[in-house]
Symmetry: C2
Subunit: 219 residues, 2 copies
């Protein structure tokens, strides 16, 4: 329980596509962790977000929103949005299922992926982008009061999530899913956002430790 699961020993190379990747940023990492869990390798095109390269033409001509990651398929078709890219690979390579199985299982993964993204990751991102001095050029205007208002939202959600995790191993049930990927990366993102998991949230801490011990966590 909770330890790393074995990867599919056959690595599937998706060499007819390329993934414009943003290094340490949370969203590009969501896709890399997902691919690692699937045992898939996609050629990466590194984009230096620290140097604001994602605002340049190479990205803009593929994603006018100028955000990463961007998946370009053979022939030039583009898919953006981390979860949309993950869903594309889920359809092509259904095993192991990371978006749930059955109507109720799929709905629960969707529900928890969204809860973790909209209540935890979005709050952490707002705190980081609206407060951190390094984000001044990224978030215009920076509104520190909005950043501060988001910190208690993240904490409040973690307390609620902690009660849920008392009854099960993973975010959406007994199986690892894309909801766990979003949650793990949101918690990692709390460090630069200077928000800490309350120490009484022992179920969250147990869950986070299990996720970060999987080989995919370093992707």
């Amino acid at each position: 329980m909770g330890g790393p699961e074995p990867y599919d020993p056959v690595e599937k190379l998706e060499d007819d596509m390329k993934l414009f990747d943003g290094g340490r940023a949370p969203n590009p990492r969501r896709v890399r962790v997902f691919l690692a869990e699937k045992g898939l390798t996609v050629p990466l095109v590194p984009v230096d977000m620290g140097a604001l390269e994602h605002r340049g033409e190479e990205v803009a001509q593929r994603n006018p929103l100028r955000r990463l990651p961007v998946l370009e398929l053979d022939g030039g078709t583009v898919i953006t949005e981390s979860i949309a890219i993950c869903r594309y690979f889920e359809e092509l390579h259904p095993e192991p299922p990371l978006f749930g199985t059955g109507a109720l299982g799929k709905a629960k993964v969707e529900m928890w992926q969204r809860r973790l993204e909209l209540n935890l990751m979005a709050s952490v991102a707002a705190a980081f982008r609206h407060i951190h001095p390094a984000m001044k050029e990224w978030e215009v205007p920076q509104i520190p009061q909005w950043g501060e208002a988001n910190k208690p939202k993240a904490i409040e959600f973690l307390r609620l999530f902690d009660k849920e995790l008392a009854e099960r191993e993973f975010a959406a049930g007994d199986a690892y899913s894309v909801a766990d990927i979003t949650g793990m990366i949101a918690i990692d993102f709390m460090k630069p956002a200077r928000i800490r998991v309350p120490e009484e949230c022992t179920n969250v801490l147990r869950w986070y430790a299990a996720l970060t011990s999987r080989p995919s966590a370093t992707a």
Copy 2:
């Protein structure tokens, strides 16, 4: 092209479940429009959001985030998050497909549903909640500067979306999907948020007119 599509004449009654519904609010409406497009009828439990009833125990014991809509299945299992509820019905009743078909088609619906939700609907919601006097008790603290910062984000996205709609009928391709539902409701939500579609966005206006002429729009 663009006109209402015929509904499945057989109305399927999902009377072993109930949907806690929030009337005019955007998220509950997303699910009602989705059900109308599927030709499904689910017993509704009305909750008066104007009287803050969604903060009460009836909702909280089912959704600790105290938000609507909430779907309760026979036996008490609960699904929250509009898109998770929609996906549950998509799995049970695949026709007509509203989350796309095939790996690329599903990825495109996911991509556009997210783009419309995160760039348009979320910006409109932030403008409404952080500026409108009626939202003082809902959004604490109200930060008018953050509300104002979101208005140009919504407009900027609409200009980008307008270029996309020059080449196709619906948000994610040639078929109506859940992405269109999110987009239509986001535009309706612009009225109380006091944001207007730029008149040069003629493709957006054509698309919006087609969506609002479908029988499902009044759901």
